[in-house]
Symmetry: C2
Subunit: 202 residues, 2 copies
Amino acid sequence: MSGEGPSLRERRRVETRRLIQSHALRLFAERGFDDTTVNDVARASGVSAMTVYRHFPTKEDLVLHGRYDHLVAAGVAARPADEPPVRRIGRALVETVRDLAGSADRELLLARLRLMVDTPALRARHLDSQFATQQAIAAALLGDAPEPDAEFRVGAAASACLAAMHVALTRWAREDGRPDLPGLVAAALAAAFGEEFGDDVD
Amino acid sequence: MSGEGPSLRERRRVETRRLIQSHALRLFAERGFDDTTVNDVARASGVSAMTVYRHFPTKEDLVLHGRYDHLVAAGVAARPADEPPVRRIGRALVETVRDLAGSADRELLLARLRLMVDTPALRARHLDSQFATQQAIAAALLGDAPEPDAEFRVGAAASACLAAMHVALTRWAREDGRPDLPGLVAAALAAAFGEEFGDDVD
DNA sequence: CACAACTTGTGAGCGACTAACAGTACGGTA
DNA sequence: TACCGTACTGTTAGTCGCTCACAAGTTGTG
């Protein structure tokens, strides 16, 4: 038997999903998000509009699908527990971003950020998704049933860090990915918190 | 002539606007934002749907209309120029929020925040509007044509402050406006920046 | 009173999104 | 191999947010 590999159905599913998303990102980059209809994406992908919606709950998810919450949360959890929360979170963000900016997903990430920067609906959705990231960070630092007050404080710290990172991501996309992304994130965090976040420093 | 008072047209205009918004907020509070159509709002207000759109560009603006950017920016500009940006912004936010939470708009503010907290679309739009606030703060601190690098640093600081404040606003709405709002905002800022933001302290 | 400016309602239409139904291909089973 | 439940897809129709074009009524002005 051919191992426990995913079934044909599963492979097709992820393949059409990938196909649809790649056509979507291409069309959005060419004509803009608002000037591309879901029907356009469907036609370009050779499927019906309904199929697009079955794979992506909303048009915006064609761009935003793919969360990094667990990566960030794992990075935060991995940092020494005796660091103050802001440093823990901030440095974990810099590390996570370094991994992403060096990976094969770099171009994908850049394309998505470019769209986000100048499409209000996408920008808004992305900011709201940071709310989920914030909660993932809080869970990583405090466990599943945290005391409300501690959750409040950690939530404030996490959302402040994420907001600073967002400014860095925005600038990175605006400058077409030329600057060093982890450096930008570290600089944004330093500007906000008056502290070093480059992880070469001890 | 009857002075320079607003014309009849103008008075009617602001009156219908107020009427529509009050009916909208009432209906949204009763049935929820997503389960209330713009047509419902129009009917309740005794106007056509088109009129609603002429006064409010989108359904979401029925809740979000009314920006505080200029208030915040003025507050930031009013603080001593020798303070570091984060303290300047943070304390200005606490002061602005104190004014608002004590004013007659308090119930209106609370109603709008309640809707924002549990309606994803509104939450997202509100977060995105903080982007505009961030730019207003940067403009207040740096003038109209700032150097990109300084704008980046101030933007990071401002967005981090606003994110922390948002956590406080969320909690305030979740607890039905019972806690002291400026105190909550100060606590969130303190948790994020490890510094005091109550303006009684020197 | 006449004319311009403004506001509103109506109707048609687009696009995002959903629900219901039907057809087809896959996966395991006898 | 033949069979059947399951999953995936397409089609159709419909709701809702939102825009445009046009007509009609009201307000302000000479």
